[in-house]
Symmetry: C2
Subunit: 293 residues, 2 copies
């Protein structure tokens, strides 16, 4: 078992526990609490908070309770985005992580509100954590920017608009840069903010997050072609059926693998820059093993 597997085994349950505790303590109607808890406990790798925590661990050699909470707030944002993306008016998905999507269980109105609730609660949580005020404000500003109309939402808009069009590789990369990349970049830089990293280190963390995010999306596109529903817990070959713009669609499968390879090299390069600042990049670099080829 490598470092990352151990790290994930330790922190995945802690992340889930923190999130459930926070939601359980909210003074709200059971109907909205249940809808939020359903999607928060529906599984998932917790990749984004894990990235934040791995950066913190690499910088500081340990993770404080309040840094764990700060990482969890990001998973609320990610989960809200999945609930809204799955809505009938958006991607209209019935399955997510092998389970019925939020609106399939709770209805469309409650799914909109559960997403709104998680989005709002993420900022409430960050504002209340016991961390220095300036660190919290930087996290809130950067997270809102990454998740907002200039980040993730911009990517979702690009995705919707692109449905009726044949995108070029550059246009597709721009959509992914926002839609998947922005939150993964934030995940990495949040670890740097929490660790009071230097500007140079934060820049390398963002570069790593950007390359990691792009690799993540290319890999997801490839899996949709070569994976099975049982493996992925969601419908496959959906992209081709919907004439979605994908890397394999534009570059062919071989070309997509090639693009993935190059993107992973860019990620490794960013890590090498971090290593030159004296950081132990062992744990973070193991995230690149996610992309098994």
């Amino acid at each position: 078992m490598n470092n990352l597997s151990q790290f994930m085994q330790e922190y995945q349950p802690l992340i889930e526990k923190e999130m459930v505790q926070y939601l359980e303590a909210l003074d709200c109607r059971p109907e909205i609490k249940d809808a939020m808890l359903y999607s928060i406990t529906a599984g998932g790798k917790r990749l984004r908070p894990l990235l934040t925590l791995a950066v913190v661990q690499s910088f500081q050699g340990e993770i404080q309770a309040n840094e764990l909470k700060a990482a969890c707030a990001l998973e609320f944002i990610h989960t809200y985005s999945l609930i809204h993306d799955d809505l009938p008016e958006m991607d209209n998905d019935d399955l997510r992580r092998g389970k019925p999507t939020n609106h399939k269980v709770f209805g469309q109105a409650m799914a909109v509100l559960a997403g709104d609730g998680l989005l709002t609660t993420a900022f409430e949580w960050l504002a209340q954590i016991k961390l220095p005020a300036e660190i919290k404000l930087q996290l809130i500003a950067n997270l809102a920017q990454a998740a907002g109309p200039a980040g993730m939402i911009n990517g979702q808009v690009g995705d919707i608009l692109g449905e009726q069009l044949k995108l070029t590789l550059t246009e597709l990369a721009a959509v992914h840069h926002d839609k998947t990349g922005a939150l993964l970049v934030y995940a990495c830089e949040a670890g740097g903010i929490l660790s009071q990293a230097t500007a140079q280190q934060n820049q390398a963390l963002r570069a790593f997050g950007q390359a990691f995010g792009l690799a993540f999306q290319i890999y997801d596109d490839i899996l949709d072609v070569v994976g099975t529903q049982a493996e992925l817990g969601k419908a496959v070959q959906k992209d081709a059926d919907h004439a979605k713009n994908t890397y394999p669609g534009i570059l062919g499968l071989k070309g997509a693998y090639q693009a993935l390879e190059e993107t992973l090299q860019a990620a490794q390069q960013a890590l090498n820059q971090l290593a030159q600042t004296g950081l132990d990049i062992q744990l973070i670099s193991e995230f690149l093993k996610y992309f098994k080829m």
Copy 2:
């Protein structure tokens, strides 16, 4: 012309200008920017930011540029909630302030995203304003709590669940307390936070906001019975058509006017408490003239 009319005439255009400037400067696709700008510029009294600013004016005798911005962020939250409330899966409204609702113009998917965008951007804005860090964090925490699952969203859930039920007066008051009240309470206390009011003053501000919010909802229910579409800029008698729980529905029209009168007295009482702390309540108390009987 009374003080409040002058105050509104001065600040309504400034509020709109600030909001438009912030959205215009966002680095995002024109489609999402247009959808957000459409609802932000679709009119409205700007009651919530005006309340915040009136409290600031009463405490400090003037309003700084950064306090104006902080007040405007609240209007982003209010506007997002209107966009999502109007969605087909929620209240399914075609008209808002005399204009087609957001999803009628931009489609349902873009309306969900425009709401998400304004909600997220409100926190980005608050985090970046040039104000002391502790004040910003308190604003962010309180706004998220007021707008979140324990506040406005809880009220919206109660509203949806109540549609199939006949609510008691207490249950209806609880729905309104969250749905309309929470943001109005925040509007008042935000002015106190910005002015570094005492705990006693903040409590009186919250009490005023609570009574004002309840009066606001009772008045809205009454207007739906006695008003015309031309006056209100939206469909009327919609509540009765949809067998909605309303104050006139439970208490009769005369009873609803009586409840409004009592609520306004509670609001005035909170203002008297503020006056006893030495605050000039003239401007704030003129907000109660909103409820013309």
